[in-house]
C-alpha cells in the first residue's frame, strides 16, 4: 500500500520541480574543489566571513598575482585578517559596517556556495547578477 502511494507521489514531486518548458533553466551542480578552478576567470567576488578550500585559496592567490584574476572581498571587520593574503596579492578587501551571515562567491557567471566537503555551484539567467547587485550595493557602504 505504502509503495503504491509513494511512487506516484515521487513522480508528481519531480514533475512539479521541473521548470515549465521554454523558460531558461537554472542549473545546479555539486562540484569538487578541482572542478571549481576553471570558473576562476575574470572577476571573483567573495561575500562573507571566510571561504574554505586550500586548493581554491592557493589558486586564487596565484592567479591574482599573475594578473589573470581580479578579486573583491566584502567581509566583516573581524575577518579582515583572514583575507589579508588576498589584499597582499593585489585583491580589494573591504569591511562591511553591517552584518553578513553566510558566505558565497561569484565567479565565471556562477554562484558558488561551500557545502560540507564540496561546493554547490548554481548558474543560470540572473543568478550571478542577483548576487552581484546585492554585493555592489553593500560595497558602497564598506570601507
Amino acid at each position: 500500500m505504502n509503495h503504491l502511494l509513494t511512487a506516484p507521489l515521487l513522480l508528481a514531486t519531480l514533475a512539479a520541480a521541473q521548470p515549465p518548458p521554454g523558460t531558461p533553466q537554472v542549473k545546479a551542480a555539486v562540484m569538487t574543489e578541482a572542478q571549481l578552478l576553471p570558473l576562476l576567470t575574470g572577476e571573483l567576488l567573495i561575500l562573507g566571513s571566510e571561504f574554505p578550500g586550500r586548493l581554491f585559496q592557493k589558486t586564487v592567490l596565484e592567479r591574482l598575482k599573475a594578473g589573470t584574476l581580479r578579486v573583491r572581498v566584502l567581509t566583516g571587520k573581524g575577518s579582515l585578517a583572514y583575507f589579508a593574503p588576498v589584499q597582499q596579492a593585489g585583491g580589494v578587501v573591504r569591511a562591511f559596517p553591517g552584518r553578513i551571515t553566510g558566505a558565497v562567491a561569484v565567479a565565471g557567471g556562477s554562484l558558488i556556495v561551500a557545502r560540507g566537503a564540496g561546493y554547490q555551484v548554481v548558474s543560470g539567467p540572473g543568478v550571478a547578477a542577483s548576487v552581484q547587485s546585492q554585493f555592489e550595493s553593500a560595497w558602497r557602504f564598506a570601507k
Binding site: 520541480a17 521541473q18 521548470p19 515549465p20 523558460t23 531558461p24 533553466q25 537554472v26 545546479a28 561575500l47 562573507g48 562591511f96 559596517p97 553591517g98 552584518r99 553578513i100 551571515t101 553566510g102 558566505a103 558565497v104 554562484l111 556556495v113 554547490q120 548554481v122 543560470g124 539567467p125 540572473g126 543568478v127 547578477a129 542577483s130 548576487v131 546585492q134 550595493s137 553593500a138 558602497r140 557602504f141
Partner: protein, 530 residues
C-alpha cells in the same frame, strides 16, 4: 441679571503674571464672561426644587451610650490649623434656586479678613467715603461670591479636559510618525486622509479625592486618602490617526529623498545562504537595510517634536481652558483662584446635583464612628444629623477637659475632617451637613514617556517603515520577494515634559481650608448673581 455688563477675566490673568508655562509664547487668556444664564435655561426648562430631608435613619438613643464615654476622659486637642481660604453658606440665598437663580457660596481669604478686621472701624468709615481720623488704612477685599455650578457640567468639563489631552497626544504622535515616514505617509494620511475619524473619549467619572496633605497628620491613617485618576491618555490606541488630518499635517511637505537601501537574504533551493543587513534595530520579518539615513530620520522626529511643542501644546492649553468656560460650559462657573497658571492655585467651582439620597451621609456616620472609635462611635450619627435634631448627647464635646471644639475651625474637628470623604450632593444637603464639593482644575508639571499605558507602547514606537528584498533561487530562476521591515528610531517613544491640566472633585467642610487654591480669587461673581 442678564442686563449686567459682561465681565472680563483676561486682565486678572494678565496681572497674575509671574510664572509662565514653558512653550507658550502667549498664555491663553480667559475670555469675556457673559451674564449668568438662568437656572431654567440650563436645567432643561424645569425649575428645580430644593429637597427636604426624608425620613431620618434610626438614631442610637442616649441609653446606648456608655456613661463613662460621655464624661470624657480623653483630651483631643486639635492640630494647629492654619486656615487660609475657606467658604461659608449665606443662608438667605438657598431658596433662590426655586426661583430660577443660582445659589451661592461666599469664599473668604482668612488673612485678608484679619487685616480688614484689625482696621474695621476705619475701614467702615472708608467704605462710606470718609477719611478715618488716623489716615487711610489698608482694607483689602476678603470675601468673594461664587455660584454653585452643575455637577453634570463639571463632568463634561473633565471629559473635555481629557479630550484636549487626547487630541494633543494623538497629534504629537502622528506628526512625528508621519514626518518620519514622510514619503509614504503624507500621501496616505494627509492627502487621502486615512484615519479613524474622531476621538472616542469616554465620560469622566465624578469621584472626590482626599489628598494626604488635606487632612491633619494625626488623622491621615484613618481617613482614606486618594489621588486624582485623570487617565490622561487615549481611551484606545489604533494604528490609524483618531484626529483629523489637518491636526497633524499642517505645513508638512512631501519629501522623496533616499532614506535607505534594502538589505535581504538569499535562499538557494530553499536554504538561506547569506544575508546582508545593517546594524539598526528592526522589527518585522525583513532584515535591517544595508544603509539607513538615521541622521535624517532623527531630524524628522525632532522637527515634529519641536512643532508639537510650539504649535500643538499652546493649542492644548487653550482647548483645555475652553472646556471650562462659556460658551462651551453654560452651567459651570469657574473661579480662578488665583489663576490657571502653574504654581498659582487652581480654577475651582462648587458643584451641586439633585441627588436626595441620604445613603452617603449615613455611610459617613458609620465610617467616621468606626474609624474614630471611643466616644465618637455612638455620637457620630448624632453629630452629622444634628441639623435635623440637636441631641444633648453632643454636649460631651464641650465638657470641661475636652478640647475637641477649641482652637479649630467650626465643629468637632475630627468629625468635620471626615466630611472630605463625601461626594457631591444637592445645595440643601450641603447647607444641612455643612460641606460642599468643589470641582478643581490646575496645571501640574508632568514628565512622561508617551504613551503612558505600557500596553500601548508597541503601537507607538517610532518606526521607519522600510523594506528588505529577499532573493529566492530555484530551478525556475531568481525571484525577488520584498518583505517589510521597520527600523526603530531613537528616542523610540515620545517624551513629554511640561504642564498638564489635571482635575478632581474635592469635598471641603464649611470653614475648613480649601485645598490647592492660593492667594485671592481673580474674580468676583457677586455683581452678576445678586
Amino acid at each position: 441679571m442678564r442686563a449686567l455688563t459682561a465681565l472680563t477675566l483676561a486682565c486678572c490673568v494678565a496681572c497674575a503674571g509671574a510664572q509662565n508655562i514653558p512653550g507658550l509664547t502667549t498664555v491663553p487668556g480667559l475670555p469675556t464672561l457673559p451674564a449668568l444664564p438662568g437656572v431654567r435655561d440650563v436645567w432643561g426648562g424645569s425649575t428645580p426644587t430644593l429637597p427636604t430631608l426624608p425620613v431620618l435613619p434610626p438614631m442610637p438613643s442616649l441609653q446606648n451610650v456608655d456613661p463613662s464615654l460621655l464624661t470624657g476622659t480623653r483630651n483631643d486637642p486639635p492640630p494647629t490649623y492654619t486656615r487660609r481660604n475657606v467658604f461659608s453658606f449665606p443662608d438667605e440665598r438657598l431658596g433662590v434656586l426655586a426661583r430660577g437663580k443660582w445659589p451661592i457660596l461666599e469664599v473668604i481669604n482668612v488673612e485678608q479678613q484679619a487685616e480688614w478686621q484689625k482696621n474695621a472701624a476705619a475701614c467702615r468709615q472708608q467704605q462710606q467715603g470718609k477719611t478715618p481720623a488716623g489716615g487711610t488704612v489698608s482694607c483689602p477685599q476678603y470675601e468673594w461670591t461664587v455660584p454653585l455650578s452643575l455637577e453634570s457640567e463639571s463632568k463634561d468639563a473633565a471629559t473635555g479636559i481629557r479630550r484636549a489631552w487626547q487630541r494633543f497626544e494623538d497629534r504629537y504622535w502622528w506628526r512625528a510618525q508621519t514626518n518620519l515616514n514622510n514619503t509614504s505617509m503624507v500621501p496616505v494620511h494627509c492627502w487621502l486622509g486615512l484615519g479613524m475619524g474622531a476621538l472616542d473619549t469616554s465620560p469622566a467619572t465624578v469621584r472626590t479625592t482626599v489628598d494626604r496633605s488635606d487632612v491633619p497628620e494625626v488623622l491621615a491613617s484613618r481617613i482614606p486618602t486618594s489621588t486624582p485618576e485623570n487617565n490622561l491618555h487615549l481611551d484606545s490606541y489604533w494604528p490609524l490617526p483618531q484626529v483629523p488630518p489637518g491636526d497633524f499635517c499642517d505645513g508638512l511637505h512631501w519629501k522623496v529623498n533616499l532614506m535607505y537601501l534594502p538589505g535581504g537574504c538569499t535562499y538557494i533551493f530553499g536554504v538561506r545562504t547569506f544575508c546582508l543587513q545593517g546594524n539598526d534595530t528592526v522589527t518585522g520579518p525583513g532584515v535591517a537595510p544595508i544603509y539607513f539615513n538615521m541622521g535624517e530620520a532623527q531630524d524628522r522626529v525632532f522637527d515634529a517634536m519641536q512643532h508639537a511643542a510650539t504649535m500643538y501644546y499652546p493649542q492644548y492649553q487653550a482647548d483645555a481652558l475652553a472646556e471650562m468656560l462659556p460658551p462651551r460650559r453654560r452651567g459651570l462657573f469657574m473661579l480662578p483662584w488665583n489663576s490657571h497658571l502653574p504654581g498659582q492655585g487652581a480654577m475651582v467651582a462648587p458643584v451641586m446635583n439633585q441627588d436626595v439620597s441620604l445613603t452617603q451621609f449615613t455611610d459617613l456616620a458609620q465610617r467616621a464612628g468606626d474609624a474614630l472609635g471611643d466616644v465618637y462611635r455612638p455620637t457620630s450619627p448624632l453629630y452629622y444629623f444634628q441639623s435635623v435634631k440637636r441631641l444633648p448627647a453632643l454636649d460631651v464635646f464641650s465638657l470641661p477637659g475636652r478640647k475637641d471644639l477649641l482652637g479649630s475651625p467650626p465643629g468637632v474637628w475630627k468629625f468635620e475632617e471626615f466630611k472630605r470623604t463625601l461626594g457631591p450632593s444637592n445645595p440643601a444637603y450641603y447647607d444641612l451637613f455643612g460641606y460642599a464639593t468643589w470641582f478643581q482644575t490646575w496645571n501640574q508639571l508632568d514628565a512622561a514617556i508617551l504613551p503612558e499605558p505600557l500596553s500601548a507602547r508597541p503601537l507607538r514606537t517610532l518606526t521607519f517603515f522600510a523594506g528588505a528584498i529577499d532573493h529566492y533561487v530555484d530551478f525556475s530562476g531568481v525571484h525577488e520577494v520584498p518583505v517589510p521591515t521597520g527600523v526603530l528610531v531613537p528616542p523610540y517613544h515620545l517624551p513629554f515634559l511640561n504642564y498638564r491640566v489635571h482635575y478632581t472633585w474635592t469635598s471641603v467642610p464649611e470653614g475648613y481650608d480649601i485645598p490647592r487654591v492660593s492667594g485671592t480669587p481673580a474674580f468676583d461673581y457677586g455683581p452678576v448673581v445678586r
